[in-house]
């Protein structure tokens, strides 16, 4: 687990909600996901895998499920150091955080493209 205190490189805010935040570190070419009480480092592949696994959770089905199992999802990503054990409310929050992040990254791509064209 990484805490903000050990941060030595510059992080740029990508997207923030009241439940968490995602930062980008240009020097390390990675993202830091501050969510569920920990800050975890994700490289390109792992961030995409995280998005895929969160998007694949059928929230509606879980909400309507009346079984007595606890409403907890384990998000385990292959070849990635981190694992999340989240409640449904947290999953909705993480999904929102990731959706916002990818919109911002897309916006960043558009801006970068425009800058290259105008140079």
């Amino acid at each position: 687990m990484i805490t903000q205190l050990t941060q030595t490189t510059h992080w740029t805010d990508v997207f923030k909600t009241t439940k968490g935040a995602i930062y980008q570190c240009d020097a390390e070419r990675c993202w830091y996901v501050d969510f569920a009480g920990k800050v975890a480092r994700f490289d390109y592949r792992c961030l995409l895998k995280l998005r895929k696994s969160v998007y694949h959770i059928d929230i509606e089905h879980a909400l309507l499920n009346t079984a007595k199992d606890p409403d907890v999802e384990i998000i385990f990503i292959c070849a990635c150091d981190h694992c999340y054990v989240l409640t449904l409310i947290q999953i909705i929050a993480l999904k929102e955080l990731l959706e916002g992040t990818f919109v911002m990254l897309e916006l960043n791509r558009i801006l970068n493209d425009k800058l290259v064209i105008s140079q």
């Binding site: 740029t12 990508v14 980008q24 240009d26 070419r29 990675c30 993202w31 390109y44 592949r45 995409l48 990818f102 990254l105 960043n108 791509r109 970068n112």
Partner: protein, 176 residues
């Protein structure tokens, strides 16, 4: 802020998803043609069986082209699962009718990816897809020509034997 997604991959996640779907479609086509080859062979239509064996091979080549392109562009190619292949056909003609349907569906799917590329201004993938668009002209022509043989020769008497022989001769050599 650096565009890290772009550094890692030339194609967007949406295009990557569509291309992976196409990999699956081509794999499915290849399996369908193999099943058609088997049916034709079992029923004594050897020239048509050879034609479908060739088609199955071509679809496999197309699948690998898409597969390798995704990897070359920094994406993640997914090896597809193929299931639900029809093994039996009611008639010789039905085999060719379904072959044409299959090709039309592939053409539509490629057009759909092309449309998405235009929207994103992904000219690199558009250029890659041009080869497939041209290839589909040939594929659809051949499938349509095979069906045409049923009309012009007719299935009565030794008709099906004639059609089978002619299917082996179908070629597309347009210069356009």
């Amino acid at each position: 802020m650096k565009d890290l997604l772009r550094i890692k991959s030339l194609i967007s996640a949406e295009i990557e998803g569509l291309l992976n779907q196409q990999v699956k479609k081509e794999a499915y086509s290849s399996s369908v043609y193999l099943s058609m080859a088997s049916w034709c062979n079992r029923n004594g239509y050897d020239f048509s069986a050879d034609y479908f064996f060739k088609q199955a091979e071509e679809e496999r080549t197309h699948q690998l082209k898409f597969f390798k392109y995704i990897l070359d562009m920094g994406g993640n190619s997914l090896s597809p699962e193929v299931s639900g292949i029809k093994q039996e056909y009611n008639s010789f003609r039905e085999v060719f009718e379904e072959a044409l349907d299959q090709e039309i569906s592939v053409t539509n799917s490629i057009k759909n990816i092309y449309a998405r590329c235009m929207k994103e201004q992904d000219f690199v993938t558009m250029e890659f897809l041009n080869w497939f668009l041209k290839e589909q002209r040939e594929e659809e022509y051949k499938a349509r020509r095979a069906l045409e043989l049923f009309e012009v020769i007719g299935e009565e008497g030794t008709g099906r034997w004639q059609i089978d022989k002619q299917v082996g001769e179908i070629k597309y050599n347009s210069e356009a």
